[in-house]
């Protein structure tokens, strides 16, 4: 065994030397300034997970405060310094923690991390493309995201602390530098980080859209695309349309904050003194923000559901129920998400007629959402369900989408929302429907595509434990919040000791905090599993889940250009599982009916796809053997030219 390993590793090492010779790859070009979409996917995954982990730790600190508002924890002073004098959390810093928690998890983990990882990994690989339309812009996309992360994290270390106006950064708190410590430099850094982040997201989105529209392999019609790609594509369009107006909102906010304009400010008195700003309008900010803010929640959710579709179908060995309906419901949700934003503003004193209109549009979301849920359940129905870790997490997504999504309809009805607004009911709603369900999809996707990313399997047993503890923990943390919200407990309060109607819930707060701390700790199992498997996991076969989609037809060891030589051709939709009369319980997309008739045995290891096409630059080997006359360069490069430089 040892001898065998030695030969394998030496031959791999030999290959690396060889390829280094060819591409002149250094550590920097290979890992930092990589233009390979698979490496960029890993970069997004790691940056997303690391910032997500920091964001979750923040919530551990403020949960501690909520459960034990009168206790002093000396270790807090050790780590937080002046923000926890004598071990008691500073109220200003409590707000900063909540703000950074929300920002990091909504934008960094569940937008940048989730879409960035899976769009980069899946769009080229599942569509049979060699890479993104512009690998260079793709690289920049990650680098903007990364520097945004650095700026955001740096704001923890400035004198006045990070931004502290909630993840929605409403003015005037966010627009008046003197309003509270977190309104100072921290706020400027928050805006700077978000602008960098958005630029990164947009660069990604441009590439994702173009790659989907322009770079699909032969036979990959739109209606043969896996649902994950459909979702990621739609989300890129959503982002392209909704992030720029949010940037406009942030730019105006920055002007108000630092340059003395008054777009959002009017009639403000501080300590009896009127501020000079007049004529501004806070509602303007709310409209601009939520025009992004609501689509944003679907920018988070749709990729999660796309991933769930892949996992459920593959691991239930059944075609997804109602493929077309699924596609149309993705598009439908995306469309409706643009006309519901004012349901976040029911308490702003809007015209009741307008409130009813937005109630109506909001309730429309029920139709496509419910269709998706039913389709998941019908897909599972009588399936040959393999309850492995990815499948468990996928079912978890569906469960949280139901338990969190149903309360959305309470909140969507203006008269019901008015008493519930800004209570823990809302906190419960969005954590279950968006937070936990998208995190579960990200976990499920990671367990599922880990072999594709790192060529090794993650540990199943640890995955099981991780799933069950997290599933139970997340339900125990967030479900009780509905009751607290119905009891009128407001969100973003530093301590609930002052009023009897809130202090009555103190026991529940203690319970939630303890479960939350345990659930946070449980994530270390995942961290261990992730890094351990990366180096020492069981080596993965090419198609470990016996899935049909194209990413599993590429070699385990990553190649620049994904497929050696030629590209697979697509002959069928992506969900041919358990097809009656077929020789195996799955038929990959690149298998034609003639292949089947000829008796091709694709379920055996190391099968090479038969039908391939050559429609891009010749691979390295072919170039070497071709005659050394210079190839005439076409005036305008053909449609699918790859810029491998």
């Amino acid at each position: 065994m040892a001898v065998h390993d030695l030969t394998v590793s030496s031959s791999i090492a030999g290959h690396e030397v060889h390829s280094e010779h060819h591409h002149k790859e250094t550590f920097w070009t290979k890992y930092i300034f990589s233009q390979d979409h698979k490496t960029i996917a890993k970069q997004f995954l790691l940056t997303g997970f690391i910032s997500g982990f920091i964001g979750i730790l923040l919530s551990g600190i403020f949960r501690l405060q909520l459960a034990f508002p009168d206790t002093s924890f000396t270790f807090l002073e050790t780590i937080l310094g002046k923000w926890a004098p004598e071990g008691r959390l500073d109220p200003n810093f409590y707000m900063a923690l909540v703000t950074m928690h929300g920002t990091i998890l909504v934008f960094w983990l569940l937008t940048g991390g989730l879409s960035g990882t899976f769009a980069n990994l899946l769009i080229p690989l599942q569509l049979g493309a060699r890479d993104m339309a512009s690998p260079f812009i793709n690289m920049l996309s990650f680098h903007f995201f990364f520097w945004g992360t650095v700026v955001l994290m740096a704001s923890f270390f400035v004198e006045s602390g990070p931004a502290a106006a909630g993840w929605t950064v409403y003015p005037p708190l966010s627009a008046l530098p003197k309003a509270m410590p977190g309104s100072g430099l921290g706020m400027v850094l928050w805006i700077a980080a978000l602008v960098l982040f958005v630029v990164g997201v947009l660069m990604g989105a441009l590439n994702y859209i173009t790659t989907v529209l322009n770079m699909r392999t032969q036979g990959m019609s739109l209606m043969r695309m896996p649902l994950a790609v459909w979702a990621l594509f739609t989300v890129a369009v959503l982002g392209l349309l909704s992030f720029p107006p949010a940037v406009a909102a942030f730019i105006l906010l920055l002007f108000d904050h630092s340059l003395g304009t008054s777009f959002y400010l009017s009639d403000i008195y501080i300590a009896g003194q009127a501020l000079p700003q007049q004529g501004g309008n806070v509602l303007l900010y709310l409209h601009l923000f939520w025009f992004l803010g609501h689509p944003e929640v679907y920018i988070v959710l749709l990729p999660a559901l796309g991933i769930t579709s892949e996992l459920i179908s593959t691991h239930a060995r059944k075609p997804i129920f109602g493929y077309r309906v699924m596609v149309y419901s993705i598009l439908g949700i995306a469309f409706v998400s643009f006309i519901v934003w004012a349901h976040h503003m029911f308490v702003t004193g809007m015209n009741p007629l307008l409130g009813s209109i937005f109630t109506a549009t909001t309730l429309l979301v029920a139709i496509p959402s419910a269709m998706k849920i039913f389709n998941y359940i019908f897909t599972l129905w009588k399936g040959n369900i393999h309850l492995n870790t990815p499948m468990l997490f996928a079912i978890g997504v569906v469960s949280f989408f139901i338990s969190g999504g149903l309360t959305g309809f309470f909140l969507g009805v203006a008269p019901v929302d008015i008493p519930l607004h800004n209570t823990y009911f809302v906190v419960g709603h969005f954590h279950l429907v968006m937070g936990v369900s998208a995190v579960f999809a990200m976990f499920g996707g990671t367990y599922h595509w880990f072999p594709r990313l790192w060529g090794r399997m993650m540990n199943e047993r640890l995955g099981y434990i991780h799933f069950w503890l997290t599933f139970i923990g997340a339900n125990l943390v967030f479900f009780p919040m509905y009751y607290m919200g119905l009891g009128g407990v407001p969100r973003r309060y530093y301590a609930f000791t002052e009023f009897s109607f809130t202090s009555g819930w103190q026991d529940l707060n203690v319970f939630i905090t303890i479960v939350a701390l345990v659930t946070i700790s449980v994530q270390l199992i995942f961290v261990y599993n992730f890094f351990h498997s990366m180096f020492w996991g069981k080596p993965a076969p090419r198609n470990p889940w016996k899935a049909t989609t194209l990413e599993w037809s590429a070699p385990v060891k990553h190649l620049h250009g994904n497929w050696p030589g030629k590209l697979p051709v697509v002959h069928r939709w992506p969900y041919d599982y358990s097809k009656p009369g077929a020789p195996a319980d799955y038929i990959p997309q690149y298998i034609s009916d003639e292949d089947i008739a000829r008796g091709v045995r694709w379920w055996e290891e190391d099968f090479e796809p038969l039908t391939v096409i050559d429609r891009e630059e010749p691979s390295e080997g072919e170039k070497v053997t071709s005659p050394s006359t210079p190839v005439p360069v076409p005036a305008i490069s053909p449609n699918q030219k790859l810029d491998m430089a």
């Binding site: 339309a133 512009s134 812009i137 947009l202 989105a205 441009l206 590439n207 859209i209 173009t210 790659t211 529209l213 322009n214 770079m215 392209l240 349309l241 909704s242 992030f243 720029p244 107006p245 949010a246 940037v247 406009a248 909102a249 730019i251 105006l252 002007f255 340059l259 003395g260 304009t261 008054s262 777009f263 000079p276 700003q277 007049q278 004529g279 501004g280 309008n281 303007l284 409209h287 601009l288 025009f291 360069v633 005036a635 305008i636 490069s637 449609n639 699918q640 030219k641």
Partner: protein, 192 residues
Amino acid sequence: MAFAMKPVSSPRLHPKELLMWLYLAATAMLFAGFTSAYLVQRFHDFWKGFEIPPIFWANTGVLLLSSYAYARAQRGLAFGNYRHLQLGLMTALSLGVIFLLGQVIGWQMLIRQGLFLAGNHKAVSYFYVFTGLHALHLGVGVVGLAYWTFRALRYRISIKDSLGLKLMGLFWHGLDVLWIYLIVFLQLNQLL
């Protein structure tokens, strides 16, 4: 470097071209955001107008000419006329720089009238935001033009580059269209 003697056109949209169109769509959404903010506040009691210095209209002409010169440069490339390519690019670049200088002069005229970004005069604040962000984008375009001009002057552009020049052109003409929209929109709001 071989030069084709007749214009070449792409039968289908090249991916990079689509990318540029999508980028322009994102920019359009950014300014749509600003526009809607403007319109929301436009009808408040506080709103009052101001005279837009005519130099901004003169600048509009400069930018239009620059776009035209750029189109000439592209034709030069397509017909293999290096002289036209160089001249066109140099003209487009210089006019771009003149536009930026003109904008700076325009802002100074506003400042001399006591119309500042800061303060409660929303129409003026918006004017600075709109024109400033446009100028920022245009600055990027000038850098791009300078790059292509530099290459053209050193005879380092071939027909292979027509895609690159086309993308640059989309960006440059896009900024032109954006500017015309902005100046017309802002002027109409002063008149109405």
